[in-house]
């Protein structure tokens, strides 16, 4: 089944029900279905064809939700791009996937304009909230009222549904290819163990460009549930007010949000009485944070989960196991398998550390036009007819098969729930005038999990850390920009003279 069929089905079952609440606007399933029909028809008329890639470069908002389903109804492939992405990287993505169109908003239009000056491509640009400043662009709002019907059968479910760009260990982002079956399989598996239903009301502050945030929308539409969409958790009290008013039942977290909640001084247990479940993924929660969350939300189930964009989600810990094994991220999600293997690909005994390997219908099709990187991740498995996903994450299993995260095989930093490849940040630092050498490492941080820390050797002693930070902020997404920059006279190197991230990480001051 194709992903957009869920929207049509939810309209049939719950047409008058609220699908999306955002910035004071409430959109019913009937309206959501109509708006996306309009957008799909308009995109087709403007030349977007089956299989074309369309970037959705927007902040969290109803327009982004409409864009995603509109693109699918047109038979095209959506690629959500984080709203804090800067022109250089945006241009790279436009060229890498040969985007046929970009759906954006007025606030982000300057970044699109700059990107298109660098890019080889000339995609259609559709702008929400004011098209005046963008010559040649089409107004998003005009597209929504298109009277033509979109194609009834825009494709089949092995067609690509989306490309999600992730930070690559080589320094360039890679597009994770997911077909409709992959997305359906992941969404179906997750809603099963969450025991989620059409009665759920889900609060999402996570970016729709981040798969964890994106799937809140996909799952809500699949269930016929309500999604309350917000841009930021910067002011938790304001979000809690909204959650009370909307009677929110589902609350997806990343560890940074949990850390912010745990730091709050005046919260009373049970202050969100309708909450039925909380989820956490991206990195494990500290045991003390789990304890505090359970105290604050005594009636809600807390799910510890683990995953990566390449298969969306790997494991979940049944909430009933949380007391017994708070450090575990659980077992494989329904209808998938998670194995810990050695270097030869053989399953290791309980307690032995190995690489986590994933089998199942949620595993990606590969990286967009990047065979080498695909072959690194998707490798021959136990059966001759399938490839399995090598996560690059080190795990062990206990005697009962519950899984424990140990660390990464590579240097990927996990900050604020997002993955950052040190090489991508180092490439920007190396391009900074006055910087001779740089190495980037993750530094333990009580709120962020890890913070991005840069160690820099200068070729021009007049350059300041602040100037370097400003250089990075202009070129990297917010979460990738180094939180701290340390000037040294030389970088930590191995005996053979190679810059070593491991030695660099070991040379940091211990965390507070």
């Amino acid at each position: 089944m194709r992903v957009e069929e869920n929207l049509r089905e939810s309209r049939r079952r719950h047409g008058a029900k609220t699908a999306v609440v955002n910035a004071g606007r409430r959109i019913s399933y009937a309206e959501f279905d109509d708006l996306t029909d309009g957008l799909a028809a308009a995109l087709r008329r403007q030349g977007v064809a089956r299989g074309d890639r369309v970037l959705v470069f927007m902040e969290n908002g109803w327009e982004a939700a409409v864009s995603i389903y509109g693109v699918l109804k047109a038979g095209a492939v959506f690629a959500p791009v984080n709203a804090s992405t800067k022109a250089d990287k945006l241009a790279y993505i436009v060229d890498n996937c040969r985007a046929r169109a970009i759906l954006t908003q007025a606030k982000l239009a300057p970044a699109v304009a700059s990107a298109l000056q660098i890019s080889q491509g000339a995609p259609l640009v559709v702008v929400a909230d004011g098209v005046e400043a963008c010559p040649g662009a089409v107004a998003f709002e005009d597209c929504l009222v298109d009277q033509e019907a979109p194609p009834r059968a825009p494709g089949i479910d092995v067609d690509l549904a989306m490309l999600i760009y992730t930070s690559g260990s080589t320094g360039r982002p890679k597009g994770v290819m997911m077909n409709h079956r992959n997305v359906e399989a992941a969404a179906g598996s997750i809603t099963t163990y969450l025991e989620a239903s059409a009665d759920d009301i889900i609060l999402n502050v996570l970016p729709l460009a981040f798969d964890y945030g994106l799937y809140q929308l996909i799952m809500a539409v699949k269930l016929g549930a309500t999604l309350v969409l917000e841009k930021s958790f910067a002011f938790p009290q304001a979000i809690f007010e909204l959650m009370r008013a909307e009677r929110v039942t589902g609350f997806p977290l990343v560890p940074t949000m949990a850390a912010m909640i745990v730091r709050m001084r005046d919260l009373e247990p049970g202050f969100l009485p309708n909450l039925r479940y909380l989820t956490n993924t991206a990195a494990a929660l500290p045991v003390e944070h789990i304890a505090r969350l359970r105290e604050l939300f005594p009636e809600a189930r807390l799910y510890s989960m683990y995953g990566l964009t390449e298969c969306k989600r790997c494991t979940w810990l049944p909430p009933s196991e949380l007391d017994r094994r708070p450090n575990s991220v659980g077992v494989a999600i329904p209808n998938t398998e998670a194995l810990v293997v050695d270097d030869a690909g053989l399953v290791v005994a309980p307690g032995v550390v190995g690489e986590l390997v994933i089998r199942g219908p949620h595993v990606m099709q590969g990286y967009w036009e990047n065979e080498a990187a695909t072959n690194q991740m998707l490798r021959p498995g136990p059966n001759p007819w399938e490839k399995v996903l090598h996560t690059g994450d080190l795990f062990y299993a206990d005697e009962e098969g519950f899984l424990y995260f140990v660390g990464r095989k590579d240097d990927i930093i996990k900050t604020r729930g997002e993955k950052v490849a040190p090489k991508e940040v180092e490439a920007v630092l190396h391009a900074c005038p006055g910087v001779a050498e740089a190495v980037v490492v993750g530094k333990p941080d009580p709120i962020l999990g890890q913070s991005v820390h840069a160690i820099v050797v200068l070729s021009d002693p007049k350059v300041t850390p602040r100037q370097i930070a400003a250089h990075c902020a202009q070129r990297l997404e917010d979460f990738m920009t180094p939180k701290s920059i340390e000037i040294r006279t030389e970088l930590p190197k191995t005996d053979t003279g190679k810059v070593s991230r491991r030695l660099a990480a070991e040379s940091l001051e211990p965390a507070q």
């Binding site: 804090s84 910067a234 002011f235 938790p236 304001a238 001084r265 400003a470």
Partner: protein, 90 residues
């Protein structure tokens, strides 16, 4: 007093979140969130700064956009918190 609150907050925001970029069009009423000036952890830093600089303690319920989402809002909020007569009236 109120002008010095604004100046202090402006200096902190420019230094901490704009990397000293004084060309950024930061008016007293610019929303920190809408303007993408601060993120979640930025709010924590901002609260820590306000508590230390103005010697006040913020309750969770006070950490809301109405009090903290622009230089002018912070100035009004800090003025209320630090004026004894008005503080008693709250």
């Amino acid at each position: 007093m109120s002008d010095s609150i604004k100046a202090d907050v402006r200096a902190f925001v420019v230094e901490s979140f704009l990397f000293g970029d004084t060309n950024y069009d930061l008016s007293d009423d610019t929303s920190f969130i809408e303007g993408d000036i601060i993120d979640s952890t930025g709010v924590l830093e901002l609260v820590a700064f306000i508590e230390e600089r103005f010697d006040i303690t913020l309750a969770d319920a006070e950490i809301i956009p109405a009090n903290l989402d622009s230089i002018a809002k912070i100035q009004a909020f800090v003025s209320r918190k630090t004026t004894p007569a008005q503080a008693m009236a709250v």
